[in-house]
């Protein structure tokens, strides 16, 4: 069994858009408040009231790992994350280009890339998100929760259909 099976799970519909996750991420990692240093970003369409937190998915076949010409990115199975070895990183930003989620960031002032490191197992974004839009959950039964929700909807639809048929 793998040592760490937990991942960040984002239920974007629960996000209130407050961006506290961005704040605490920057303070935890860089000891400053600055959203451009956050490894998680709340993308917003304010005119529609849509808020979606986006961060690293810790991909199994990660494009950033595959694309890195300096082999500075690798998977750490103990911590269940993809991580940057800054002694090897050449700052070419290929990872930023290839990440399909926009979860790799380049901090212009420091001239270096940053990404989510799951706070070494205690993600601060999760700890501070009172509405649980971001959670740290086990991967083993990841789909089950969604499955239950879908099943409930199916059941409700089925009941409605039965009652409609009955009315005919």
């Amino acid at each position: 069994m793998q040592k760490n099976n937990k991942i960040l799970k984002i239920d974007y519909e629960k996000c209130t858009g407050c961006r506290l996750c961005e704040l605490v991420c920057a303070v935890k990692h860089d000891r400053v408040s600055n959203p451009v240093r956050s490894r998680i970003r709340v993308i917003k369409w304010e005119s529609e009231g849509v808020y979606i937190p986006v961060t690293c998915q810790q991909c199994e076949e990660a494009p950033c790992v595959l694309g890195c010409p300096a082999k500075a990115l690798s998977r750490n199975e103990d911590l269940g994350r993809v991580e940057v070895d800054y002694t090897k990183c050449i700052g070419c930003r290929t990872c930023v280009s290839v990440c399909p989620f926009g979860a790799m960031h380049f901090v212009a002032t420091d001239r270096k890339v940053i990404k989510c490191d799951l706070c070494d197992g205690d993600p601060q974004c999760v700890r501070f998100c009172e509405v649980e839009a971001v959670r740290f959950v086990d991967t083993r039964d990841l789909g089950l929760e969604k499955g239950r929700e879908a099943a409930r909807r199916l059941q409700a639809a089925d009941r409605k259909a039965v009652s409609l048929l009955g009315a005919q």
């Binding site: 209130t16 961006r19 400053v32 408040s33 600055n34 009231g49 601060q124």
Partner: protein, 646 residues
């Protein structure tokens, strides 16, 4: 560091911009946000300045703790001499503008002069540009914000804007950011409009260093746990501020039909639960949204379910909206309230003042003081939803005789309408009262009568007075950080001890307004919420500045005194019905007609009220006329103001 944030002096007439640091000695005296704005206003305006002239200054600020790792450090403050009241203009809003301003390198903007043509400011990473706003003039508050983002090609830009109401100098035009975050009171949008300033756009990527990051993080977490575990904020986070309206209306503390009744009956369609249903139906079960870094998430996202704007996205409505467009005009339909909410948000107009003005006009119409000719043919009776919606648009556009008259604010309108119309205008210092009815609650009546910006609940309201907390709990709250051993009572109908509660709350709210924290994170609705002791810690953890709780109290007292000095300089006199600390005669002469058994029949006893004002003045170190005593100024270090140190 927060302390590195600068102050910018911007002259729109000449285009000259000067940037200066904010000295630590000034921080120690005034902290930042509203308190420092009050210092700047007193120092940068001359006595009797015409509010609409280029010599008036517009102050825009973030609090000392904006964007730091304290909780809900989201508030933007805007100040100027008000064209609505001729006295202190001051307004405060949530959203995301203040943190962005801080990340862009600034805490305070001092804007004077008048731009030759419509303009907006763009502030980014220490730079300030004055840009052309010709293509933005005439556009709604949201259209303006999205257009600026498009022009600057940056969706992360945060804007503080005015809508058409501000451009047309409606005296109670507001300043807005986002969909509905509004600095509503005292018409600061009108001052922006008078300066041809359509918007201030900010974008920042500069670090704000945190003095003690580990402690700041842990303390923030403690704050959140403390706040999230309280019932009041759980309810707030589910139903939003309408829950307060529902609760207050249930016992009879809401103005209905202008000021004829103190309870809105048959209001099922605008009860908080009904509005929650609408938000759930249109945006799903998780429809609450929060301001920056705040876990209270008290504002609802919804789409208008019906009416002329059906399908439009909006946020709110708030506690005040339900009073302004529900109870006061006696229009009890969700569709009407939501339509008006949408319109004032798009026009950029204070919902409270708009609703109160129309409700007052409705009462005058029913009394025959306003004729159908003067209403331009509108049948302006209470409960006429169509008339209400139409009047909102007419005021914004200054359309028709009445629209134009009401757009000038209560006192000028009463002078124009004449007869005894002024007697029915429920205002203090020229600003209409919010929709709450304080006839059964002496503490709340004292609050609205003496609030520095006119009739208002967010300056000194001891809202927890309504909870009937045990006296020992009240004593614990109100005896810190300065001792108090005078009377305190759990009974909200008595007069004893209330002046101290009002004085204490006035300092509590000033402190959070200086820090830039939301009032829902303090002793406003939650008696167990953070307090002076906690702020001393968050200031230290986030900025490294050392303040004792008593130091913060002293700053707040000082800032309240300087607001008082400004008002006195501009003509405040104690018993003046138009410019004083005095209530409309209806508080004294017309008893409550509805509500809980202990409320029906209540009114404010004038003699006892005057004694309360006397006592409040004593706490504040003012003489019988409400003027600071020389020893008060000396004690607070204000004897040589204006000192022109910044």
């Amino acid at each position: 560091m927060a302390l590195k944030r600068k102050i910018a002096y911007i002259d729109l007439t000449t285009g000259e911009i000067q940037v200066k640091p904010i000295p630590v000695e000034i921080r120690k005296q005034f902290l930042g946000g509203r308190g420092l704005d009050a210092y700047l206003l007193y120092n940068h305006t001359k006595k009797g300045v015409d509010p609409l002239s280029p010599d008036n200054v517009l102050l825009i600020s973030a609090g000392l703790l904006a964007a730091t790792c304290a909780s809900a450090t989201t508030r933007t403050h805007v100040m100027a001499k008000s064209a609505l009241t001729g006295l202190l203009g001051s307004t405060n809003m949530g959203g995301f503008f203040a943190p962005e301003l801080a990340w862009a390198g600034f805490h305070h903007l001092v804007i004077r002069g008048k731009a030759e043509k419509p303009s907006y400011l763009f502030i980014h990473d220490g730079e300030i540009e004055i840009r052309d706003a010709g293509n933005l003039w005439g556009r709604s508050t949201t259209e303006t914000q999205w257009a600026i983002r498009e022009e600057l090609r940056d969706p992360e830009v945060k804007c503080l804007v005015i809508g058409p109401a501000g451009e047309k100098l409606v005296r109670f035009a507001n300043v807005m950011t986002g969909i509905k975050d509004s600095g509503g009171r005292t018409g600061m949008g009108c001052i922006m409009g008078s300066k041809n300033l359509k918007a201030v756009a900010a974008r920042g990527t500069m670090d704000i260093g945190i003095a003690h990051p580990e402690e700041a993080l842990e303390f923030n977490k403690r704050f959140i746990d403390q706040i999230a575990s309280s019932k009041v904020n759980q309810t707030q986070g589910t139903l939003g501020t309408p829950f307060i309206w529902g609760a207050t209306n249930s016992w009879g503390g809401v103005r209905a039909r202008n000021f004829q009744y103190n309870q809105c009956e048959f209001a099922d369609d605008i009860e908080p639960e009904r509005l929650d249903e609408i938000a759930t139906e249109t945006m799903g079960p998780h429809h609450m949204a929060g301001c920056f870094g705040c876990q209270v998430h008290c504002r609802a996202r919804y789409k208008l379910p019906s009416g002329p704007y059906a399908g439009k996205y909006d946020e709110g409505p708030e506690y005040t909206t339900l009073g302004a467009f529900g109870a006061m005009p006696d229009c009890r339909n969700a569709e009407t309230v939501l339509t008006c909410n949408y319109l004032v948000n798009q026009y950029g107009m204070d919902n409270l003042e708009t609703g109160a003005m129309i409700s007052w006009a409705m009462e005058l119409y029913e009394l025959g003081i306003l004729t159908r000719e003067q209403t331009d043919g509108i049948d302006l009776r209470f409960g006429n939803d169509e008339a209400l919606v139409e009047m909102v648009s007419r005021i914004c556009g200054r359309k028709g005789w009445l629209g134009d008259t009401l757009a000038d604010g209560g006192i000028p309108a009463s002078e124009k309408i004449g007869r005894n119309s002024f007697d029915y205008l429920v205002q203090v210092k020229g600003m209409n009262n919010l929709h709450s009815d304080e006839r059964a609650t002496p503490a709340l009546a004292l609050n609205v009568a003496t609030a520095s910006r006119g009739s208002d609940h967010l300056r000194s309201r001891p809202a927890i007075d309504l909870y009937h907390l045990p006296e020992e709990v009240l004593r614990k709250i109100y005896s810190s950080p300065v001792p108090y051993d005078g009377p305190l009572s759990s009974d909200h109908t008595v007069y004893e001890g209330k002046p101290w509660q009002v004085f204490w709350q006035e300092n509590c709210y000033m402190a959070v307004d200086c820090l830039g924290i939301c009032k829902y994170h303090t002793v406003f609705l939650g008696p167990t919420h953070p307090n002076f002791e906690d702020w001393a810690k968050v200031i230290r953890y986030n900025t490294g500045l050392e303040f004792t709780p008593k130091d913060i109290w002293d700053v707040a007292v000082r800032c309240n005194t300087i607001e008082r000095m400004f008002n006195l300089r501009e003509g405040l006199t104690r018993s003046d019905l138009k410019k004083g600390d005095m209530l409309n005669h209806r508080y004294f002469d017309e008893p409550c007609r509805r509500g809980a058994p202990g409320v029906v029949g209540r009114y404010i006893d004038k003699e006892k009220f005057i004694r309360m004002v006397d006592e409040l003045y004593e706490h504040k170190g003012l003489d019988k006329e409400g003027v600071p005593k020389p020893e008060t100024l000396k004690k607070q270090g204000l004897e040589s103001e204006p000192s022109h140190r910044l």
